[in-house]
Amino acid sequence: MSSRPLLKFAIVLIWAFILLFPMLGIEEDRFVWDRVLKVMAVITAAGMLVLVYHYFLKGLSLRPKVFDEASTKFRPPRRLLIGLGVAGVLALPWIADNYGRDIAINVLIYIALGLGLNIVVGLAGLLDLGYIAFYAVGAYTYALLNTNFGVPFWLALPVGCVISAGVGAFIGYPTLKMRGDYLAIVTLGFGEIIRIVLNNWDKVTKGPNGILGIKAPGLFYPVVENGSIEFAHLYLKNLIWMYYLILAIAVLIMLAVYRLNTSRIGRAWMAVREDETAAELTGIHTTRMKLYAYMLGAIFAGFAGAFFAAKVRYVNPSSFIFLESALVLCIVVLGGMGSIPGIIIGAAAIIVLPEMFRGLALYRMAAFGGAMTAMMVFRPEGLLPAKRKAQEVEMERETATIP
């Protein structure tokens, strides 16, 4: 038993004290100890657990070292699992209460956003830190068209997508020459520009007050009345209807991304991601491919944005801050870049986790930030990495052993 972990533990404690004491322990000219001691106690307890693990439990194997797939006796057939999953997703709004439905809708919105950003970041390898701007464009397009001209949701949806795609191309175009992190800061800048404009262009966007009175999507359905068929109109205000609507949008996007993944364009994106120069030499029109990635990502975000405006029926600029872009990026990376199931899991984690921390009230965001770092440190390749990506990592490992 070496004493190194103990030494480390002591250093961590001293270090934590140095960092915590000035922030927590000084009020004007008095020293207040109780807050410092409380936090230090928590850190000490956590450290003790790690020490106990290190000294006593590490040697014990809690699970078999080599996971033998054949040894798992019962595996329910794949179809059954998928069927159960689909049934669960379809039945969800009838089981859950309004709070649960709301969270489920949010998860689906973020799945749509994550899938869209995945095209830009995961497939084409363009780091976009201002993705939420397209979401804002979609939301404001529907909000403005609906409140000013009474345009219904179903008409505003394609218009919003076209405008989002236009903005995507507009932002994408000047950044085509840039590489790596230059791109990141420019997209971040564009995102901020759009938010600031929304915040200050009082005449059109009503500034920070936002736009109220957006109509929910409507639906005409036929009714037989006095022997003739009439069309009645129904606003889909109910959260159950909204759930099915966003579910349909998310599934549509999922299918599109699934098809794109293996399509010619999808492979071209991956080629651009891996080596732009080589991709160009093999005849891929790299500028056009990058523009496509931007526009398609923007379209999906526009979809999600229009839906968001229709669901909340109120938009204001504070829904489109940088933190949201960061969240979506987190979904893409957390889930494992480029994998659809990964993004679903990632979106669920990112939306549900803070809800679970709700009991912690004020500590919620701090806990979330800490959890984000911890997840990256312990699973840097994401929860469910895409198969192709996993193969690459495997190959890198193999080649890395050869000097």
Partner: protein, 303 residues
Amino acid sequence: MEVFFQQIINGLTLGSIYALIALGYTMVYGIIQLINFAHGEIFTAGGYIGVIVLSFMQARGVLDTHPFLGLFLAFVLAMIYCAFLAVALETVAYRPLRRASRLSLLLSALGMSIFLSNGMMLSQGVYDKAYPHFFTSGGFKVGGVIVTNMQVFIIIGSVLLMVGLNLFVNRTRLGKAMRSTAQDRVMSAILGINANKTIVTTFVIGAVLAAAAGVMVGLYYGSVRFDMGFIPGIKAFSAAVLGGIGNLTGAMLGGMIIGMVEIFAAGYLASEYKDVFAFIILILVLYFRPTGIMGEQVDDTRV
């Protein structure tokens, strides 16, 4: 014309602060290719330590008798604190990800940024924390242009720090190690340069400069807030990119440009759109010079 010169003085002050923060971004980026999102929070922490030290001394009555000692202590303690904070960040959140993809590293930094800013909110409160104003008020006039003592102090202080940084990077062994590691980490390691030590040094230097900037901002604007690091952080990073990331002179130049653009846009065009102009300049410069003003050709490293 007087207004014009007044704006130049204001722009120089703001530009120096941005330049100090931008240096931290650019050095960290140069050495481990990470946009250190938590850098803005280090800057905020510096501001908080400054206000804590100064109010402590004021409450004990020391500040009135020894104002310069108070100022000195505020800066030195803030720098030491931020150095400790940066080392902790590097060890906890960045070192384990040294071999992971750059996106994971970036998100780890983002997580730390959220964690730190909320941690400061929890410990220091949601509201602005006011600096004791003891020598923030004085000033003098040069031909109709008002120059406050604080502005002179900020500009001279920043210049001294930047000269010091340049001497450190160019003249000392550790500075040489930093430059070498930034250029080729593997080769430097083979030649016997301790990469971890060098990277930690880089973080510490960046944090020291950010701490100084934090105290300066607190003194200049009179208060600090838990989320004040975000916008200056983004702008300082823009400044670093504008100058050509990884390039120290570029970061200083970029900081000055962003500061000037912001002040002039606020003065002559529309103050609510000042941030927009800063970003537009950034985008325009990068459009015509994709690697920044002083930047060299970047390699193809992608996310």
